[in-house]
């Protein structure tokens, strides 16, 4: 790394804002996707929007690739460093700049930890609705990058439903304050587009979010099932009957056993094949009515031994197993491949059964814990990364499950994003024309392709990755013989990840 650049960065962010030594750099080698990683050349931790802008200007002049990073809890390698690149971490920017209870909004720095916002809002009877499982550690900026969800986004929506404005620094270091007084964006909805862009367009430094009133009553139900299929069928019918709980989560037998053997022990019956965890919130009357209807559906599909809790302490106990599920899986195997796919909610049963079959055939341990209400599957495959053959079987199973979900009308990711892990699979979900337009939009922000290169979009043309044409191309309406060149190059010639 150029010493003059290091000096300039040091002048800007100070000693505490710069990491150059190998040992500390190695802690930034990967995020939650441990399969792929490499140390960055440098880590910069700006303390403000102005510092971020200054840092990005210097890095732009130096032509260096940049990888933005929140807490590094992402699961698809979105924060994995690139060769010779600089990680810009927002973890020093964690202030709540404003919290207005009357306006039900908060303006926060991007490095604020998700749960800290809800804690700060609670005394005013408000909370921040997106609640990823990692909310004790993940940052609001990271949530913006991934349009993060969580169990309760079933009712309240993912991050994009709750963000009102952003302060955004583009790759050249220019600051754009996208906060505006209007309810709707004046002009194009840049904020909506930047949310979920996985750090490929620039860096978000401040976020203005809507806060939601805490519900009057929340009741948690835990139903036990003798088979996973019954739990899935309950969810499908609850959706069809428009029963609208605020969360609908399923845990399968292996997950239950792992949880019950761990410090997250929640009293789930270890002999059960599945448990369904439901939150119902609203007024006392609404909760009573919806709960009664849900109990009928549970009963119809073989659910039994229903435990109910409205008291906060008891509810926390029922949820403890779900919240600790990922941590508990360390008891099954040293490594965990956390898959993330979405299926139409009418097809939950068949795809969960398919995933189970795929893993069984490959002698892999599959633990299902997922946001069933949204059709968001998380088939988690437990493995040991030192076993090369097991790694191969894990990746093969992951790809088969993902392909089946897409073929059933689903998608590659419900909340973890595409990152490094699924970028090539984008060709199974989209045609080359769709991807070309995405490339063009990306280039509008980052023409040099320095921001999180090699993430989100495939680095090679789909025809190289997928010899069979995508079903959606060529489009019957497209006048292909006279088709002009795409607006942006189809192949990312950026830095290899």
């Amino acid at each position: 790394m150029n010493p003059a650049l290091i000096r300039s960065l040091h002048d800007l962010v100070g000693k505490s804002g710069l990491i150059t030594d190998g040992t500390r750099l190695s802690t930034y080698e990967f995020d939650g996707l441990a399969l792929m990683g490499r140390a960055p050349a440098l880590v910069v931790l700006p303390g403000s929007t102005a510092e971020t802008a200054g840092v990005l200007k210097l890095l732009s002049e130096a032509g260096l690739p940049v990888v933005p990073r929140g807490a590094g809890t992402g699961l698809t390698g979105g924060a994995t460093p690139v060769e010779g690149g600089v990680v810009v971490s927002l973890s020093r920017m964690r202030r709540i700049l404003e919290l207005s209870a009357e306006d039900r909004l908060a303006r926060v720095e991007a490095g604020l930890v998700n749960i800290d916002l809800s804690r700060a809002a609670a005394p005013f009877g408000l909370f921040y609705a997106p609640d990823p499982s990692s909310q004790q550690a993940c940052t609001i900026g990271g949530n913006v990058a991934n349009n993060s969800g969580g169990p309760h986004c079933f009712r309240y929506g993912c991050t994009n439903r709750h963000v009102r404005g952003l302060v955004f620094v583009d790759p050249s270091g220019d600051v754009h304050d996208l906060n505006h007084p209007g309810l709707d964006p004046a002009g194009l909805d840049l904020t909506g587009f930047i949310i979920g862009s996985e750090g490929t367009l620039g860096i978000v430094t401040e976020v203005t979010v809507q806060l939601t009133p805490l519900p009057e009553v929340t009741e948690t139900l835990l139903a036990v099932y003798r088979d996973l299929d019954g739990a899935c069928a309950t969810v499908t019918e609850a959706i069809a009957r428009r029963l609208e709980p605020s969360a609908l989560e399923i845990l399968d037998r292996l997950t239950i056993q792992a949880v019950e053997a761990s410090v997250f022990k929640a009293g789930y019956p270890v002999e059960a094949e599945a448990v369904l965890l439901i939150d119902v919130d609203g007024t006392a009357i609404e909760v009573q009515e919806r709960t009664a209807a849900l109990l009928e559906v549970i009963d119809d599909h073989g659910g039994f031994d229903v435990r109910r809790a409205t008291d906060a302490k008891q509810r926390r106990r029922l949820w403890a197993g779900r919240k600790g599920a990922f941590g508990a899986m360390g008891r099954i195997a040293p490594d965990l491949y956390v898959a993330d796919a979405v299926v139409p909610r009418t097809k939950l049963r068949e795809l969960v059964a398919y995933a189970t079959g795929v893993c069984r055939e490959r002698d892999l341990k599959l633990a299902n814990v997922f946001h069933a209400g949204d059709g968001n599957l998380h088939p988690n495959i437990c493995y040991d990364r030192r076993d090369a053959d097991e790694v191969r079987r894990v990746l093969e199973a992951g790809e088969l499950i993902l392909t089946a979900c897409v073929e059933a009308g689903g998608s590659l990711s419900g909340e973890h994003g595409i990152g490094l892990e699924k970028r090539d699979a984008m060709c199974t979900a989209f045609g080359q024309d769709d991807l070309d337009v995405m490339f063009a939009a990306r280039a509008a922000f980052d023409p040099e392709r320095r921001f999180n290169p090699g993430k989100l979009l495939p680095v090679r043309a789909c025809i190289e990755l997928r010899p069979q044409p995508h079903p959606s191309e060529p489009h019957p309406g497209a006048p292909s013989p006279r088709r002009p060149s795409p607006p942006g190059p189809a192949v990312d010639r950026g830095f290899s990840a």
Binding site: I285, A444, S472
Partner: protein, 413 residues
């Protein structure tokens, strides 16, 4: 005969008709019968250097300033119909020209509702609603249109189709290009198909209203109702002369609406109550009055904590002109609207200057294009928006200068 007219007839065998824009211009309007035909038109437009303005039912075409140059209107009237209604999954997919009312009727068959509750749904199309980014009186509960769009298929300026999102209620695969097309007023491409999330239809709706003569008391009551009464679907204030009517619409299950109605009635003196069909009809009439398509209207968004002060400023600004218009406020959202049937340019300038002098940022809808361009401020992020316009429509087949000032007077060829 214009070049556009001739090309559509001669090359494509379509018969364009002449249509008058709200600013008086007469233009050829062509209505393709298929997506393929629409793609051919765009391909031809690009080759011939024509500027094409997408058109739904034209009821909100002038909500963003009309472009200086348009050669051809491309109507989606024949690109209509529901493609997939999936009650079990809570989604509906339709072509852009589908009337919003048809979508709503289809959704209702499975006990679902659409959001937003669009004013004048029979004369609004799916593509038009999304392109304009319309919102309805249910916004406080259900949010704006963009929150309900799950995926989209668009045609770009060279006739290529592009897709983003999908037909799933949760999905973070790839860039959300559809977010850019909602509210883009046809400047980036032609929306041909979209998927929306459906909401459970409320079993019961009820309306309660009370009158106030003091705006301070009315806004304070609105805040109290927002904070203390559940099941609020709409909370609004309407001013006629010096009387303010506060209306609260409740929606939910029959028992919960009844309980909320009791809570609201206990907080309002001399309240008038409506329930069942009467409440629904009254709510629909009120909804349609908020968006009178023949009027200029002024939108003023502030934070809820500043709503009363802004309301007073808006009344003051309007008191300086002869035609005071109709004032409408959604205090929980802090959107204030003035619907003014007969404003001339001087009136508009006067209102604009008195509001901006107070630090407020009014937006004007349905103004003459030049006035609209002059008074609606450059939005934050305009530089990035221009980059996106160039990236997605490099040949300026779709009109520019509607949301942000033109980067060049004539489209680059």
């Amino acid at each position: 005969m214009s070049r556009a007219f001739e090309l559509c007839s001669r090359v494509l065998g379509l018969s364009p008709r002449l249509v008058r824009l709200p600013d008086g211009r007469e233009l050829p309007c062509v209505a393709p019968n298929s997506e393929g035909q629409a793609a051919e038109i765009l391909h031809l437009a690009r080759a011939e250097g024509l500027v094409v303005l997408p058109r739904g039912n034209a009821s909100r075409l002038a909500w963003a300033p009309l472009p200086k140059r348009v050669d051809l209107l491309l109507s989606t009237e024949h690109l209509a119909g529901v493609i997939a209604h999936e009650p079990g999954d809570g989604t509906i997919t339709a072509l852009a020209g589908t009337p919003w009312s048809e979508l709503a009727v289809t959704a209702a068959r499975s006990g679902h509702a659409l959001a937003p509750d669009v004013p004048h749904p029979a004369s609004s199309t799916l593509g038009g609603v999304l392109s304009v980014g319309v919102h309805g009186p249910d916004r406080f509960t259900n949010g704006p249109a963009r929150d309900h769009v799950l995926g989209m298929r668009v045609l770009l300026g060279d006739g290529r189709a592009a897709r983003s999102g999908g037909r799933l209620v949760k999905n973070v695969t790839g860039y959300d290009l559809h977010k850019l097309f909602v509210g883009a007023h046809g400047t980036l491409g032609l929306i041909v198909e979209a998927t929306l999330r459906l909401l459970p239809a409320p079993a019961e709706r009820a309306l309660i209203e009370a009158r106030f003569t003091d705006s301070g008391a009315a806004f304070a009551k609105a805040k109290q109702l927002r904070d203390e009464v559940p099941n609020v679907r709409t909370l609004c204030l309407d001013a006629v002369n010096d009387v303010l009517t506060l209306t609260l619409e409740l929606a939910g299950s029959a028992r919960s609406v009844a309980a909320s109605l009791d809570l609201a009635a206990a907080r309002l003196e001399n309240a008038r109550l409506l329930s069942g069909t009467a409440a629904r009809i009254e709510a629909e009439q009120r909804r349609d009055r908020t968006h009178d398509p023949r009027s200029t209207f002024i939108e003023l968004d502030v934070r809820p904590s500043r709503a009363l002060a802004a309301w007073r400023q808006l009344r003051l600004a309007l008191s300086r002109i002869e035609e005071r218009g109709r004032l409408h406020a959604e205090p929980a959202l802090a959107r204030l609207t003035a619907v003014c049937p007969e404003l001339d340019g001087d009136d508009v300038r006067s209102i604009h200057s008195s509001l901006t002098a107070e630090g407020l940022a009014p937006r004007f809808r349905d103004l003459a294009p030049e006035l609209g361009r002059a008074l609606n401020p450059e939005p934050p992020g305009a530089k990035l928006m221009r980059s996106l316009e160039r990236a997605l429509d490099p040949h300026s087949v779709f009109p520019k200068g509607r949301l942000i000032a033109d980067r060049v007077e004539e489209p680059a060829r």
